[in-house]
Symmetry: none
Subunit: 226 residues, 4 copies
DNA sequence: CATGAATGAGCATTCATTCAT
DNA sequence: TATGAATGAATGCTCATTCAT
């Protein structure tokens, strides 16, 4: 019933108006949810007529999908991954704090909620979100961990798993609470405490202890940062 | 010219019919989402008239809340927490496997999705779910960890945080993937692998190196990752 | 579809419970209107079950009709008609004040409103109300006027018309305003002013300038309009 | 995420369609009453879709109010008030006959009934009706009476009250009977009789006895006017 | 290409009435 | 006789979508 939609539409029509519609749609969808949002509201907020909405997007569902996919593309680039350093602790902590601060922002929570809800209806959408979000961050972090492993300050078999575990340890307790509305946001102090605990656990599990690493560490700073 | 009811209705009338309605409602809500479910459908699936629905529950919202709360109550009792044992590894692993198997069941995933979606609209519901679900498990696990701490096999400052971290390490990578539809379910093998890794990380972070294990640990880096 | 209802039901069942139902029905109907009243509310306010309602009355309409007819019977007896006196002015004024005070009571206004509304649906009910209310008062007043006419202090051809005109002059300006919600009630002062003006107009139109009153009237003009 | 509209909608869109809706609404409301009328019926009778109803009017209530207000506006203009003339009798009688003929038309009776019923629910509507109907006529008539008073053919203190009394005398007996369904309409003959009686009473109460009548009045009328 | 009036199926909810107990 | 749970048609209202302009 659709057809070449996806690609055709991404390129179709005035890109400026397309963007304008998506911006209006984002505000309304995030505020009211997929079902709660009405095309009327979206048209009004976007400043176009209802008819125009249907020129650019075949249906409410199509518009929603396009919106989520577009957003993902932009957000992945906002995160700064830890630069190499002799001791992973500080960079990991900085990365964790940054990540959790981003993830617990109300708009991000709203978006995650709506995507999770939509996944039941549009499985491909949830998958796309997962791959460009959690998965993407995991891969990038794993690349950094690998550098430290090669430098001999970390040891693990499965870098992806270690990266994932670190991220989940950082989220532990703050993200889930926000998602279920048990907390509105996480305060910087709370985030810091949580991330520090995560770093501690992570380092005990994967840090190379011993005189060996110590002696390495003495000279290792330079080698590590890759 | 109205009535008190609230409590009367929560517990009201024929409990069998109440259950019958909740069972129908569960099927429809999980299949179609909160907004997607129609009271008409629920009545049909439950095998009662629309009017009867409103005799037992004041509104769609009320019915949904009752459903989620009831389910929570039942599910909390299904989990068996690790019994005391000299070595925490096996009990923790058993607990983790059981927990993750439960959490990655398709119906559970569907329910979590719908609750997260509903949290945007009814924050109290999300909070209730969080408290009787994630939070509850955390507290119970923390109690067990405390036993081991007093037995001298674990050491930590904050038992709640440790418990939460263990659970998040178990979920790491499988639950989130299911939630976003990136995986349909987790295979027992996958769960086992993930939970074992979680136990390993947890024990390295919080385990007390006893004389026995210490000798292992000296050379144990290699042994561990298996 | 009914049958011997009216009479059968008037006599049927426990008269005490019948009264109890009618009392509850009155409160609800007057508060909420015919359509606004629900049989549920009536049952609750009357303190009987919904089923019992239908044992005593065939339908909501039947109950409503019975209620209005019963009420009419009682109210007609509340009015005291002017006793004979040499000069009609004082008795007429007293009667007028009493009548208007009764007619502008909020409950009476509510009842008149609901009956007028119901007349569109149940014409016989409006007619019954009219005959036992306005019409009845008119006839009784006409009887008194006739006494004065025979005493030679009033003169008119059509006693019914004169009576009706007097009543309408009394109501003039206060009753209609209440009926349309332009006034909540009429204050005693306002009623008195209006009734006095009515008496004045009525006496100028129908009073016989007797020798006695004439001598008064010669100088009395000033006294009158006060 | 809503709109201003109120005024926009009162006057909004195609005036022709607005009129079309109001015409349909009038037929249904007058036939079935406010509660008895369904928006579905109104849409069908008006020949528009239910959705269109709500484009032009925010709610059933709004539609009803607009209908009543519009009708009022038109009807107020239909009445011709008595022109000045030396003798008020003929103009007053003509005015009275015209007014009562209008007020006893079945559609007018139906509308008055429905407004009175609605007043219990929407007091502002009753008040608006009163002010643009009874009140308005009263004021206009009082203006004419004043002309006669200045010409020396009528005398009174309170022109508004006199006007109101004249109107109520005209209505006396016919309007109330129609309202309660005790009469279907008033025949021209009946109206004429009633209005003539009203003029008679009114002139005796407020007329200045002319030279002609004065000789008669020498013993009565003159004294009266004070 | 853009508009916004029009559509009508669909929704949550209410309520007069019935009937097994 | 009295009950109140159950019914299901009907209600006011919304909204994704279409289409004439």
């Amino acid at each position: 019933m659709e057809a070449p939609t996806t690609d055709a539409q991404v390129a179709a029509h005035e890109p400026a108006k397309r963007r304008q519609i998506l911006d209006g749609a984002r505000r309304v969808f995030l505020a009211d949810g997929f079902d709660g949002a009405s095309m009327n509201d979206i048209a009004r907020v976007a400043g176009v007529s209802k008819g125009t909405l249907y020129v650019y997007f075949d249906s409410k569902e199509t518009l929603f999908e396009a919106l989520i996919r577009d957003d993902r593309k932009q957000q992945a680039e906002r995160i700064v991954f830890p630069a190499g350093a002799a001791d992973p602790r500080a960079p990991l902590a900085a990365f964790g704090r940054q990540l959790i601060a981003l993830m617990t922002q109300p708009e991000m929570i709203a978006q995650v909620r709506i995507v999770i809800a939509a996944t039941a209806k549009f499985p491909s959408l949830g998958r796309a979100f997962y791959e460009s979000g959690p998965c993407f961050g995991e891969i990038r972090l794993a690349e950094r961990l690998e550098v430290w492993r090669q430098a001999g300050v970390l040891q693990f078999d499965d870098g992806r798993r270690a990266a994932r575990q670190f991220i989940d340890l950082c989220k532990s307790g703050v993200f889930t609470a926000c998602l279920f509305g048990a907390a509105d946001t996480a305060s910087p102090a709370e985030i810091a405490r949580n991330v520090d605990a995560a770093v501690e656990v992570f380092m005990r599990a994967y840090g190379v202890p011993s005189a060996a690493s110590m002696s390495l560490a003495i000279v290792g700073g330079a080698a590590i940062e890759a």
